[in-house]
């Protein structure tokens, strides 16, 4: 039972355009959400997070949006750069009980020069 789902395994965008990566979750006890970027042979790198009390968080070119009623979050990257090409993982944590991250399966982003 996948509690965090990234339904798009891959995404290709042109340099300078917006990249939108999507994530859906099923567990209503999740209250903290994160996005990680991963290059081959490296560990995931933390990008941005959002608490369930917010619906938007921005950090430079990265913005995360959270729609609690739809159990959906998205990561916007604008403008996209070739160096952003990587696998992006959405992750979620519960507000009580197990405090480990539950990850989605990842979306491979390719930014074309």
């Amino acid at each position: 039972d996948q509690q965090v789902k990234q339904n798009s395994p891959s995404l290709s965008v042109q340099e300078g355009r917006i990249s939108i990566l999507n994530c859906d979750y099923t567990n209503s006890m999740f209250d903290y959400f994160l996005w990680y970027k991963k290059y081959p042979a490296e560990g995931p790198t933390f990008l941005i997070s959002i608490s369930s009390i917010k619906d938007k968080n921005e950090d430079g070119r990265f913005t995360v949006f959270l729609n609690k009623s739809a159990k959906h979050l998205s990561l916007h990257i604008v403008p996209s750069q070739p160096g952003d090409s990587a696998v992006y993982f959405c992750a979620a944590m519960m507000d009580t009980g197990r405090r480990a991250l539950t990850f989605g399966s990842g979306t491979r982003l390719q930014v074309q020069p």
């Binding site: 903290y32 994160l34 560990g43 993982f89 197990r98 405090r99 480990a100 991250l101």
Partner: protein
Amino acid sequence: GAGVSQSPSNKVTEKGKDVELRCDPISGHTALYWYRQSLGQGLEFLIYFQGNSAPDKSGLPSDRFSAERTGGSVSTLTIQRTQQEDSAVYLCASSISVGNQPQHFGDGTRLSIL
């Protein structure tokens, strides 16, 4: 650097042998986590430690897996009597505390069981 350090970066061993994987968390981080990523799979939680509290072992796949964290810092993940299905990248992460804090990952140990 000041990031999470894992060793070895690669480990090849024969089925049935025991292996130990090491993790040095970021200095000052009280929470430490182990995950693994098998080929074609997502990241799967194994175990976490928070301060002096009893670890949450709920993600360990079998009793062949165990972990320790000595002195609240370095952690060792031990896999006894390895099986081929244990082949994966084992990732360690740390955070300032358990809770709504980002976890920062090391580059992992790639374990291959022959």
